[in-house]
């Protein structure tokens, strides 16, 4: 059993309500932070904790906070990124749905640390019912003096507002999110200036993921040093993993980052093994944007070492033989899944979600989708594979925001590791419409009892 900092109370009946949450020890970190600490010492504590952004990029949260500009007389804002739209990711939803007050607690402490009197939660538009849950929780927190004017008599004022998006993955990118919050199209901004200098309404802004902010409460309660002792290396604390696909127990799990990928997939505490007695073929370990890995490279690194569920180990081997922790969306594919089709649906997703601002992404994503569809429907030719490779290469790194990279990487990784499956599709146009390439040499090295 690993440590649980976020979800330890998730199963307490009624934890969603203020009374139960408070009775279980909630809001202690707000008392501690506002009464015993000052903004600088909170930032210091977060730095010590080694907490890395949970939205995908893994940027150290304390460091990000220390960058915020503090010009005289200009309000600053904290914005919580609850846009969660990366395929395979549904952990923030779980947190907000079951533990809304845990997020609010983190938000209040963080707002105090950053000097944000108006803090915004930008939530994806489809999570309408969660918006209601959050609004309700905010009302409760207000009624109990945790929000509003002069909180706990410290002179600190704070309001939290929930803004619903309206269906656009790109609004998860922090500058697109800021544009959207201002009521504009979700076109990412060209950086610099960075949000910490000029963010929402040109004011200094920090954007953090839901899980990042929810971790602040526990960090303040236990102290940054203690938090940093959990986990390994630069992967400190606990991480939520949303597991989905062909596994026995899809769901949201909190792990400390010392567990191996193999244990995570096969142990009953977590995914519970591959569903229907099938074998593992491949896995996208950190949300659809990160490189897909075949079973053999997922469980062991290229050097033959055990791969662990943490930032460093998942990216061991770089893009050639590794992947990324990303947003923690763990997508498992069994032997019956077609890599070409999977890649095609992801390419379609990125084409659909491109904001259309810059030419490589706007035009390239659509082109890749069309070629993949062609291969998938048995009309591809061998040169299409090289063309795909060339297109993704020309998108990657050449766009305004990382969505271009996010669209390129899955295609690159699929070709890198599963080229023979693409070729099989092309060489067997009819057969590939009715049957499946199967496992071939990606064979799951783990013995599965019949």
């Amino acid at each position: 059993m690993g440590v649980k900092l976020l979800l330890d109370k998730a199963h307490v009946p009624g934890i969603r309500t203020y009374d139960v949450y408070r009775r279980e020890g909630g809001y202690r970190s707000v008392e501690k932070a506002l009464k015993e600490m000052n903004p600088e010492s909170i930032v210091e504590e977060v730095k010590k904790s080694g907490l890395r952004g949970r939205g995908g990029a893994g940027f150290p949260a304390g460091m990000k906070w220390s960058f915020i500009a503090k010009p005289e007389g200009v309000p600053r804002h904290l914005v919580c990124n609850a846009d969660e739209s990366e395929p395979g990711t549904f952990k923030d939803r779980y947190l907000m749905e079951f533990l809304p007050h845990l997020l609010l607690e983190g938000l209040i402490v963080s707002s105090f640390a950053l000097g944000s009197n108006d803090t915004y939660i930008y939530i994806r538009g489809e999570y309408a019912w969660i918006t209601d849950i959050l609004e309700e929780a905010i009302k409760e927190a207000h009624a109990n003096g945790w929000l509003g004017k002069n909180i706990l008599g410290t002179g600190f004022d704070c309001a939290i507002h929930v803004q619903r998006g309206a269906g656009a993955y790109i609004c998860g990118e922090e500058t697109a999110l800021i544009e959207s919050l201002e009521g504009n199209r979700g076109n990412p901004r060209i950086k610099p200036p960075f949000p910490a200098i000029q963010g929402v309404w040109q004011r200094p802004t920090v954007v953090n993921n839901v899980e990042t902010l929810a971790s602040i409460g526990p960090i303040i309660n236990m102290g940054g040093d203690e938090y940093a002792k959990i986990g390994v290396g630069r992967s400190t604390g606990t991480k939520l993993i949303s597991a989905c696909g062909n596994i026995n127990k899809p769901g949201v799990y909190e792990i400390d980052m010392t567990i191996s990928v193999e244990d995570f997939i096969y142990s009953d505490e977590f995914c519970g093994g591959i569903a229907n007695g099938k074998k593992l073929k491949a896995c996208i370990p950190g949300g659809s944007s990160v490189p897909i890995l075949p079973a053999n490279l997922l469980l062991k690194t290229a050097k033959g070492e055990t791969r662990y569920m943490n930032y460093e180990s998942l990216s061991d081997g770089g893009f050639a033989t590794g992947s990324m922790m990303g947003s923690g969306g763990f997508i498992v594919l069994d032997e019956d899944q077609c890599i070409v089709k999977n890649t095609y649906t992801l390419a379609r997703f990125y084409r659909h979600e491109s904001c259309g601002q810059c030419s490589p992404c706007r035009e390239g994503t659509g082109w890749m989708e069309k070629i993949l569809q062609k291969i998938e429907t048995g009309k591809g030719s061998m040169s299409d594979i090289d063309l795909l490779w060339d297109i993704q290469r020309k998108i990657e790194g050449n766009t305004i925001c990382p969505l271009g990279d996010a669209a390129a990487w899955p295609v690159a990784a699929a070709i890198r590791h599963f080229r023979d499956e693409f070729e099989w599709h092309i060489n067997n146009p009819d057969l590939s419409q009715t049957s499946n390439f199967g496992l071939q040499h990606y064979a799951d090295p783990i013995h599965v009892p019949a």
């Binding site: 019912w129 309206a166 009521g183 992801l346 379609r348």
Partner: protein, 180 residues
């Protein structure tokens, strides 16, 4: 709020307008943003308008929203056409938005989509003749672990099976019948 007052004067020229309660909600939304930044309320106000006026945003509705927020109509069109949740064409009473992205696909969303098409006798993007159902294929809705899934209005319907789809269709048919 200055902007809302000036609108109220204009209101009676229009056939589309928020009622008292909707106007109060609209003012609450605008008040969340700094003075003069009322455009920030555009997304939530468009949601409100879509809910209030038949589930879609007509040009008239968008023009009305522009006047409520004191912005140019083109700014509203630009935003409304960017986000996939705003319907710029009329839709049925219940919109089935079925997720088709990778994780749902590997969990069998294709079969569910085909089954819904058969049951409702419409293709994606179409509305049933009786105007009750619209079928839309959408990209990941953040329910990948509970796939296959679809969204109907504010509600997520997860772990879909053929039987569940049948039950859902029956449920909404009777809701529609009760309304009429």
């Amino acid at each position: 709020m200055l902007c809302v007052q000036s609108i109220e004067k204009k209101r009676f020229y229009m056939s589309i307008q928020f009622n008292e309660q909707q106007m109060t909600e609209c003012k609450r939304l605008v008040a969340r943003y700094p003075e003069g930044k009322q455009k920030s309320a555009l997304l939530p106000v468009l949601h409100l308008a879509q809910e209030s006026f038949d589930g879609w945003l007509s040009t008239e509705t968008m023009d009305y929203v522009a006047s409520v927020l004191s912005i140019e109509p083109i700014e509203v069109y630009e935003v409304a056409s960017f986000y996939s949740m705003y319907n710029l064409k009329p839709v049925g009473q219940f919109v089935f938005e079925v997720c088709q992205t990778g994780p749902c696909m590997i969990s069998g969303s294709d079969n569910i989509i085909t089954y819904i098409q058969q049951q409702l006798d419409i293709k994606p993007g179409e509305t049933t003749k009786d105007g009750i159902f619209t079928l839309k294929l959408v990209e990941c809705l953040g329910a990948c672990g509970y796939a296959p899934m679809m969204q109907v209005g504010k509600i997520y319907k997860e772990h879909l099976t053929k039987e569940k789809v049948d039950a859902i269709i029956t449920e909404y048919r009777s809701q529609a019948a009760a309304k009429n």
